[in-house]
């Protein structure tokens, strides 16, 4: 067994550089984008994001291919999953009048995000796709376009911005204070918090796992034998945190889609 550490080497804690994976294909060329040096190649998260899309498609294609009155196992899973998104995120949030046309978007988004998050736990993959922030920004831009377009389509351009930036039941001088704030928070900052929430949770979770795994290994391999229980404890904590991560991965996919639904509902709501 090859050792990662030598006895006198100081412990190097994991850093954001650990997320810069080498390219799987290509990777010889470089280019500059937005002032940052980029590698021209296909990396692991790019493959994962395609894999997740294919997996979601296959699962629900198989689930809906042979529809029967009495559902089989796969069809039952598909129906339960669809019902969960449709009822708890579509109908309860957007409201029974409008929700049906947004269910395909919410449903696809939820399972796409969920599968990508689970990539962090699936053995031999074990890298969260959305710990690369660019992947999440594209999703956030898409949801920003969706809820703004829906609102402008329903209320018109002026009516929509009035709805989003003028809070109901406020008048006078307070409006001068509140209108810029509401505009900032509802139009400008939303896509950033939406993207950063998912990204930072996946990033921090993976960083924590790296820390426990490397720290435990460092203690076991370089420290005197008396410290060994601490290293074992770090590995036990690694397993505990990995299980907690599965919960967080589900919760973040849920929150991401729930917030999408809430933004759509906020754009569709009638003026008071």
């Amino acid at each position: 067994m090859s050792s990662l550490f030598t006895r006198d080497e100081p412990f190097a804690p994991p850093s954001p550089a650990d997320f810069d994976l080498p390219a799987v294909f290509g990777g010889s060329g470089h280019f500059t984008f937005l002032g940052q040096e980029q590698v021209a190649g296909v990396t692991k998260p790019m493959l994962q994001i395609v894999l997740a899309a294919v997996l979601v498609f296959i699962l629900f294609y198989v689930a809906s291919r042979r529809r029967a009155m009495v559902p089989g196992k796969v069809q039952f899973i598909g129906e339960e999953a669809y019902g969960f998104v449709r009822n708890s995120m579509g109908r309860d949030i957007i409201g029974s009048h409008d929700f049906q046309r947004f269910v395909p978007y919410l449903f696809t988004l939820f399972f796409f995000v969920l599968f990508n998050n689970f990539m962090a736990t699936i053995p031999f993959i074990q890298f969260p796709t959305f710990s690369r922030s660019g992947m999440v920004y594209s999703l956030a831009i898409m949801s920003w376009i969706v809820y703004n377009a829906v609102g402008i389509h329903k209320h018109g351009f002026v009516g929509y911005f009035k709805l989003q930036s003028v809070p109901a039941g406020v008048s006078g001088v307070i409006l001068i204070l509140l209108v810029p704030l509401e505009f900032m928070s509802n139009i400008l900052v939303r896509p950033f918090t939406l993207a950063l929430r998912l990204f930072a949770n996946m990033f921090a979770g993976h960083l924590l796992l790296i820390l426990f795994a490397l720290g435990g290994e460092y203690i076991l391999e370089t420290q005197p034998l008396g410290y060994a229980p601490v290293g074992v404890l770090a590995w036990v904590l690694f397993i505990a945190v990995a299980i907690l991560e599965v919960l967080i991965q589900f919760l973040q996919a849920y929150v991401f889609v729930l917030l999408n639904a809430m933004y759509i509902q906020g754009a569709l709501v009638d003026e008071h």
């Binding site: 100081p10 412990f11 190097a12 804690p13 954001p16 708890s88 309860d92 949030i93 918090t193 950063l196 929430r197 930072a200 949770n201 990033f203 921090a204 849920y254 929150v255 729930l258 917030l259 809430m262």
Partner: protein
Amino acid sequence: MDGNLNMIGYGLAAIGPGIGIGLIFAAYISGVARQPEAQSRLQSIAILGFALAEALAIIGIALAFVL
């Protein structure tokens, strides 16, 4: 072992959202305990409040790495 003062600062900054999230779910739990049939309505409100409070912690961790 090298450290970074940013991480201590982030730890301190995370106290606020931590207390906030605790208060949100405490209120949610006691609300559901008093009126179990209101759970589905309270749940989305609680998750929204949780997401807003958590945004502070997330901005903190982003700044801890950036600054």
